[in-house]
Amino acid sequence: MTIKEIQEEIIEEFEMFGDWTDRYEHIIELGKSLPLIKEEEKSDDLLIKGCQSRVWLKADYINDKIILTADSDAIITKGIIAILVRVFSNHTPEEILNSNMEFIDEIGLKEHLSPTRANGLVSMMKQIKMYAIAYQTQHN
């Protein structure tokens, strides 16, 4: 599936939810379901600091695709990370660089990606695009 398609799939999933409770319970579920990075691997160079919650991000380059692994100490942040990884991981740098994040608004999570919320998500998204640029130049 393309990034766009995955985003549409997620939008559809979120349309099922009646109110914020359902939406957040789903995000919390997502956050709980995957311990994305093992404690012992959470080294400082993977760390992206927001002042509210911390985010760890790993980006590997396998078969021309960027594979993302990420984690956070806050469960809601982690839930949103899970969504972002599902959307952006396993795509080529070009695909990532040509994509946008407007779907986040459509699933009612816009506020979490505000640069002023300081939860690390914005820096994480910036970092993902930086990796994309780095791998793109490296392999061109």
Binding site: W20, T21, Y24, E25, I28, C51, Q52, S53, R54, D73, A74, I75, I76, T77, H112, A118, N119
Partner: protein
Amino acid sequence: MALDINRIRQDFPILNRKIRGSNLVYLDNAATSQKPKAVIDCITNYYEQYNANIHRGVHALSQEATDAYELARKKIQKFFNAKHDYEIIFTEGTTESINLVASGFTTLVKPGDEILISQMEHHSNIVPWQLLCERTGAKLVVLPMDKDGQLRIDLLDTLLTSKTKLVALTHISNGIGVINPIEEVIQKAHAVNAAVLIDGAQACGHIQPDVQALDVDFYVTSAHKMCGPTGVGILYGKEDWLNKLPPYQGGGEMIKEVTFEKTTYANLPHKFEAGTPNISGGIAFGVAIDYLNQIGFDAIAKHESNLLQYATSELKKIEGLKIYGDVPNKTALISFNIEGLHPYDVGTILDQMGIAVRTGHHCTQPIMDFFGIPGTVRASFAFYNSIEEVDALVEAVKRAKKMLS
């Protein structure tokens, strides 16, 4: 006399706000207070009726604006019981006030001298002193706190020495709400000839400090935490101290005469008030003080103490909820965490229910480091908060706990 909360709430237009369909429950008063209609109207009235640049103007508007601005200074003087109105310096807020003093001490301290602060200071009362120490070679000494969140006053006699040039201490901790025994600190500091600056940012919306009774050398606060507008605050300084400090910023207003060879500075308070100030802000600060006085600080204290006690006892019933700084002498501010839950998550869920609390380190990282936590959830109350709002908070915390666990 008990406060008529319903009537008081009508003075605050913002309290009618809905957040995602819920009534706003504003419990972030330690970050900034809300503003009564009188203060908002004062700003409108200023801009609609007599906006003009102040001092030195001979036309009517300028005179009206100047008179109103200087009247505000007098109201503030009276509020703090300062001896002279020119001991009240208008600044942008607490942070600028502290920086003004810290900058002024550059020429007054030498290598080896010490500046004593505490472990529970706001970053605004840490970083300016770190910068001062960097500039001068003075040493920053830190008065620690105990596990309840109270200052180790017992260590004062050891830490205060003839090397101590200044003690900078918060009146009330914005991180955990503890009220510090500043009288004792001031007395002991003066015994070793150290000056004392008290950071009153968290105090002045809740209690009324008497700077002469305290015998404090510098007292600083921000209007926006006491029902006044953003972008204005004050530095109170004893006349002698203010005369001792060099000017802070250069510009219009603060000079007597300017030639390229030599500039002489104006008298207090103008020496420290370079440039066009926040005129509407200063005037509205005065009106905020009128408003608080009219409500009455005794009544405020009583009501806030009720809120604190009720909220504390209700929150404590929640299993796994831990309050930091749960001591008798504190203001209506509750900083807490729920075992296993991240404060950011709790705050996010509360927000969905229209409950505004702050989460994070509250610009007091050293406190968080001390407790070994990433941050807390902080519910901070004002006199216009109601018992029903405490109930809403408690319900919401329970629900957040359930959702997140």
